[in-house]
């Protein structure tokens, strides 16, 4: 081999060696970097598992601002803030619709109008503020603003009582009552809405459900404290104090039942009353309000003294299979979630259909699609029945309105009006309830079937004053006459 050839061969060998070592070096770098990255994530995960809790601020019974609580409980606070997010489900959820702000209503986003979706509601509520504006609900974060700016504020004068549930009410009630919750409640109820509004600062906050020292669940809304006491008294338990006598699992529903209930305002003091003195079923609630001769308004087309049912989620849930199985509101609407290794309640309170894995699959080990389909089947059937019941009610209202125009006497129309009052309350009860039947499917169907039956019997009663309907409590027609005399 000549010298130059040997040099060339040596160079070629060296080039080969360089590229092999370079490849190995690159591989080594990638492996080292990857392993280090893995090590770092393992360290991080081990840190998470230590369950850190840092008390950085002291909370007292007057700490209302949730941002302050959020310093100690950042995960819960972050989730709570997400109730601003608007995500719809097939029936409900929280849907955002853009709107042009006006002088009386500066909102640029609102939920969909239920009145536009089903104009028959305006016939049911003729003469009442709900016929002016009624929308899908939005998240907790909007409770105060949506109440301040609803068209119902322009259509009628609302009392301070409304703020019992549309705000963080605990600290303001204590302040107004000089430390006495009940006195504050009684003082602010009869004020006009706008004057009472000045006492309140926040939508629902941590302190409305939690004891600031122990974080234990605590009921703070006066009407629930009184309502549940009346309910327990009807079951033979005297002097029931919800905050000392309820179990932990009961409290996981009771804190929600502080507001998600049927209610009415009693007398000129506008005291908020939860009508549970005879039980939690729709019939017990209606019987309670009947006994109080409660009239929300006189129907503009028929002259019937009628009632508005309000979002009875707590009562409807209590009639269903989940309640019977000991499942609380929070189990599905605030399911457990992991933040690192911490197990916390999701404070982004929302429809379980938006989080089926955590909300349903903890107990129901079936695919998400299957579970969603089951819920929607119940809701579609309930919606169809509700529509039929609405047709029946609209039929009765039409017949009654014609009879009124023809000048038929109050005595002749008393039975039909009593039937309208009852049919309308039952229909509204399911319509206003937030689950479209899911909380108690069979009970919702029973209520709607009953409502339909009463409406159709009402149509017969308009035609034949001698007709004796079934399903109307004795004295109901007489009570309607008394109510009409009262309100005129």
């Amino acid at each position: 081999m000549s010298r130059p050839a040997a040099t060339l061969a040596a160079r070629a060998r060296e080039r080969g060696a360089i590229s092999r070592w370079a490849l190995l070096l690159a591989l080594g770098i990638v492996v080292a970097a990857g392993t280090t990255a893995l090590l770092v994530t393992i360290v991080e995960h081990k840190q998470e598992a230590r369950n850190p809790f840092f008390r950085v601020v002291d909370l007292s019974d007057t700490t209302e601002d949730p941002a302050v609580w959020g310093k100690n409980f950042p995960f819960q606070y972050d989730a709570y803030l997400r109730t601003t997010e608007m995500r719809p489900t097939r029936f409900g959820g929280s849907e955002a619709v853009a709107r042009v702000p006006t002088t009386t209503d500066p909102r640029t986003v609102v939920a969909r109008s239920k009145l536009d979706a089903d104009p028959r509601l305006k016939i049911m509520w003729a003469g009442y503020a709900f016929a002016a504006d009624y929308r899908e609900r939005r998240g907790h974060a909007y409770m105060l603003e949506d109440q301040m700016f609803t068209g119902r504020q322009q259509a009628s004068h609302q009392p301070g009582t409304c703020l019992h549930c549309h705000t963080s009410a605990y600290v303001p009630y204590l302040r107004a009552g000089n430390g006495d919750l009940m006195k504050g409640f009684e003082r602010l109820n009869p004020l006009p809405y706008d004057s009472a509004r000045r006492w309140f600062d926040h939508p629902v906050a941590c302190i409305d459900c939690h004891d600031p020292r122990t974080m234990q669940l605590r009921v703070t809304r006066p009407a629930f404290i009184e309502g549940i006491r009346a309910l327990k008294a009807s079951q033979g338990i005297t002097d029931y104090d919800v905050n000392t006598m309820a179990t932990r699992q009961e409290m996981r529903s009771f804190v929600c039942g502080q507001c998600h209930v049927e209610y009415y305002f009693r007398g000129s003091e506008k005291r908020l009353v939860y009508p549970w003195g005879r039980g939690l079923s729709v019939d017990s609630e209606l019987a309670f309000e009947d006994a109080d001769l409660k009239v929300d308004w006189t129907h503009a087309l028929t002259g019937a003294p009628v009632l508005k049912a309000q979002h009875p989620e707590f009562e409807m849930w209590s009639q269903g299979v989940h309640a019977r199985a000991g499942v609380a509101c929070a189990d599905c609407h605030m399911p457990y979630m992991r933040e690192g290794a911490q197990k916390i309640s999701d404070h982004w309170v929302r429809s379980p259909l938006l989080d089926i894995n955590r909300a349903c699959q903890t107990c129901h080990r079936y695919p998400e699609d299957e579970l969603k389909a089951r819920v929607e089947t119940i809701q579609l059937r309930t919606a169809a029945l509700r529509s039929d019941a609405m047709d029946a009610l609209v039929g009765l209202v039409g017949d009654l309105a014609t009879a009124v125009r023809e000048g038929r006497s109050d005595a002749q129309l008393a039975t039909a009006r009593a039937l309208q009052r009852r049919a309308q309350f039952l229909l509204d009860y399911v319509d206003a309830e937030n689950s479209t039947g899911f909380h108690a499917p069979q009970e919702a169907a029973r209520i709607l079937g009953e409502s339909m039956n009463l409406s159709r019997q009402g149509q017969i009663a308009v035609r034949d004053p001698a007709f004796r309907p079934e399903g109307l409590p004795a004295g109901a027609a007489q009570a309607v006459a008394t109510m009409r005399a009262q309100t005129h």
Partner: protein, 152 residues
Amino acid sequence: MRPLPRAGLLAAAAVVVAGVALGVGAFTFVYARGYSYLGHDAKACDNCHVMNEQYAGWMRGSHRSAAQCADCHMPSNPVGKYAVKAWDGFWHSYYFTAGTYPDNIRISKLGERVVEGQCRACHGQIVQNIAAHAGREGDISCIRCHWTVGHL
């Protein structure tokens, strides 16, 4: 002193980096208790907190004194056992590191087959009369009804 040839420099660097990679790898293996996965103790399955609830459920379940996690979730034969350990172990590590897994985890198809087989590995003699009645849809599932025996 003669300067090192370029190939020699690269070789030295590659050796050092390989050493670092090996060292970090070994440290990670020990730090993350990698060796525990070769054994049979149920504690290994709770090394990372994803399995906290299953582990706690097993402690309260009826099988805690009769079976470790691996007794139901790995085949009994050593080849199958380590093959499933390697396969499941890789995917568990992958999803845990990436963080893309739901809070309520559900068993995989393979995992379900293994568990059903392991039910029969111990209880086969007792259940053979029941299994004999399996219809056209195939084997009767034990855990469809007895889903709480392993962990609540």
